[in-house]
Symmetry: C2
């Protein structure tokens, strides 16, 4: 009868350190928690550096204790298994439109935006803000990180597509989105896009909000405009 690796085991401790972004940067590794994410990664052909499970019947996994699982988890109800993977090095694809997430600070929100982009066939460029490969962003993405390209950029010039800035007022209607490959810029929850980002974009779009409130959550705005970009392509090509 084996109890599984304890929370103090060096392999568990090394994996748990991946909750820190500095450790993810230094190692190129991250953590996937729960059966859905681990299965999505497996389906996508991702190799597991470690695979830890409470379940002794899983032949591919190293058995761990409940305490070790809690140490590895970033959720209130820890889910087994937990995998350590190398962060994939994606490239933006030449033919795809791109969602540019600009200084999105909430990792769950960023993950949701990646999930939305993947559903509508857009790649994702992350320009500052939360780490798209953090366990929380991965959870928000629900596997989408393995179905679309997710890259970090330092400069908007790295995205070769017509820039579209999302602005709260005085932009064009979403129906004015042009044909072709677009880079949809969505700004931070608190501050929107900075002036330099807006200035770099030949197209500015405002989502009409007749309800009289000020704004949408950044991920909600991203969903509407990814949908419009996808619709536009469908209606023009289909």
């Amino acid at each position: 009868m084996e109890a599984g690796l304890s929370a103090r085991n060096p392999r568990i401790q090394a994996a748990a350190r991946l909750h820190r972004s500095s450790e993810r940067d230094a190692t190129g590794l991250t953590l996937l928690e729960g059966p859905n994410l681990v299965e999505e990664a497996k389906q996508a052909g991702i190799a597991f550096v470690e695979l830890f499970s409470l379940d002794e019947s899983d032949p591919d996994a190293v058995r761990i204790s409940e305490a070790a699982l809690e140490r590895l988890s970033s959720t209130q109800t820890p889910q087994s298994p937990v995998a350590v993977i190398a962060i994939p090095r994606h490239r933006l694809r030449a033919e795809r439109s791109v969602l540019v997430a600009w200084e999105i600070s909430d990792p769950g929100n960023l993950g949701t935006m990646i999930r939305t982009a993947a559903a509508f066939g857009l790649d994702v460029a992350v320009r500052g803000g939360a780490d798209p490969w953090s366990p929380k962003s991965l959870r928000g993405g629900a596997g989408a990180h393995f179905h679309t390209s997710v890259v970090e950029i330092a400069d908007l010039a790295e995205v070769e597509a017509v820039k579209v800035a999302t602005v709260l007022e005085a932009g064009d209607s979403p129906s004015a989105l042009p044909d072709g490959r677009l880079a949809l810029l969505i700004g931070s929850e608190a501050h929107g896009l900075p002036p330099e980002a807006i200035a770099s974009a030949p197209i500015r779009i405002t989502i009409p909000m007749p309800g009289g409130t000020e704004s949408l959550n950044a991920a909600a705005a991203a969903a509407i405009l990814c949908y419009e970009i996808s619709n536009r392509r469908t209606s023009q090509n289909g």
Copy 2:
């Protein structure tokens, strides 16, 4: 020199108990945290049962200690002021379309959906799941709870509008949304809508997702369809 109410003060303890839904149910009260939400409530004419602040210069607030603020907060970085308010008793408005949030379990997601509905002029009916008046839902709503009607329902029959079920496949395109007052049903993150909800809806809509992934976050799907409902009205009346 006054230190402000301590975390052990009975008024602070009574307010902190409002993090529990049973206590909110029993008292009809809830908590608002941070300057933005408190200001939104004030602008909307909401009366404060209590108003607690770190800032001694606020003449309307009772001064509290840092420890008391932490006790009242549900965030990692507690924000002053914190208000106790009575939960408004809203009614669905006869002329409005309604977003029906069905067993949405994440309070932040539910708050985001309320924010989205308010932006597009829809009321909100909550059918099971998270409490729309919890501090976390209120934070996700960013003040939208004070700009649209938010009601809890036990039965879909309480919503007198044409039901539209959001389904993952085999529904009509969003462009098929009819004119008139609609009740847009959005199901839980994990399970979608239950069969009885889908059966009750004469209209079923599927958001086309050419990216090849399975699904959208519930709040992202709600954003796209609230936008489509609002667009439809605008283009027909405007």
